[in-house]
Subunit: 187 residues, 2 copies
DNA sequence: GAGTCTCCATACATATGTGTATGGTCTATA
DNA sequence: TATAGACCATACACATATGTATGGAGACTC
């Protein structure tokens, strides 16, 4: 029988619960109920709730956050990496990310994890922009705007009209990655 | 003696607590402790916690959310209203707004209030953009981008370098409200 | 096959929250 | 100045969470 639970099982359930019910549900008692076991299991795998939270944030960085950039860096031709990045980032809602950002407002540990991810992505976007011809100063500024917009998009789960949303993304691309220009900085 | 408390006093404390400690602290017991009274007062002014939450959201919409647009519409010349809007919106952190957005992830009532405000502001921004010469379709798209960026800015309380932030805002203005062009849409 | 180790259930003490019932203390007012 | 009403304290029953202590069921080892 493999009805034994591992720490990873708890973490998986943690991400699921976080995504659907938010960080307020990340407690031993409700989680155990969701897993169909008692809290005895929880407190065997984790010292306390704080330790579980820390482990969950590590787990998230590993399985969710790092993948996006990695996927983009390997596959496809690198010239339109920026355009592809925008399209994929603004494609789905990324509910888990949104939940973690809400969490980050209340728990310093989560705040720290989000900040780390943000820094990584920001500098990556800036490097893409520089590679496409923008001067460093404007590349940083545009990366900031892009990332702000991404965060705003992720957190406003308002069901926008499909077309309106597509238009906004197209406009975004037109701004930072116009086609047919090799050196967008040299206007 | 005016040490009697009114419902408004509780709401003021509610906004303060929300801003500093987040929506998780919006409970009768901690609030009463912060006010230096017992929960007896709370339950006299409000039927229950849910009623307090609803009242608080109404109060917020009244005192905080509606002011921004109103202030812009009255004072100043209307030509650079857009530029002024961007500068003021991206000036301070708007911690209360951020807290409410976090709240909106967990309570449908808060979600509803935020959505209403978002709609109002979005359409106002779009109208400003149209007035400055952008064609309607692109005005909507840019309004969306601007607002996404605003939300992202508000929620990432990361201490950005002052200059970097100014650069980003300048870039934002350059994108949607370039100087010396009367018809930015007609490129 | 006795012992050990892993994993979980159960029970307990404690903390913090809710909502209600009841009574007390001011203040205005007739 | 008696009285009604606004405002608050206190006490109770209840719910949900935490962490610990203890013990039990299975598998694995020697």
């Amino acid at each position: 029988m493999t009805d034994q639970l591992s720490a990873t099982d708890w973490l998986k359930q943690g991400l699921k619960t976080l995504t659907t019910s938010g960080f307020v549900a990340l407690k031993a008692e409700p989680l155990a109920k969701a897993m169909g076991v008692s809290r005895g299991s929880f407190y065997w795998h984790f010292a306390d709730v704080a330790a579980f939270h820390a482990a969950l944030l590590d787990y998230w960085r590993e399985v969710a956050a790092e993948r996006v950039i990695a996927a983009l860096e390997t596959e496809g031709r690198s010239e339109d990496a920026l355009r592809r990045l925008i399209r994929t980032a603004f494609d789905t809602r990324l509910a888990t990310e949104a939940a973690i950002r809400g969490w980050a407002m209340h728990e310093p540990l989560a705040r720290k994890a989000v900040d780390a991810i943000d820094r990584r992505r920001m500098s990556y976007i800036a490097s893409l922009l520089e590679k496409s011809g923008w001067p460093p100063s404007r590349a940083t500024a545009q990366a900031q705007i892009l990332y702000w917009a991404f965060v705003g998009f992720t957190l406003s789960d308002r069901q926008l009209a499909r077309k309106q949303q597509q238009d906004a993304i197209a406009e975004l691309i037109r701004i930072v990655a116009p086609q047919g220009r090799r050196q967008p900085g040299k206007v």
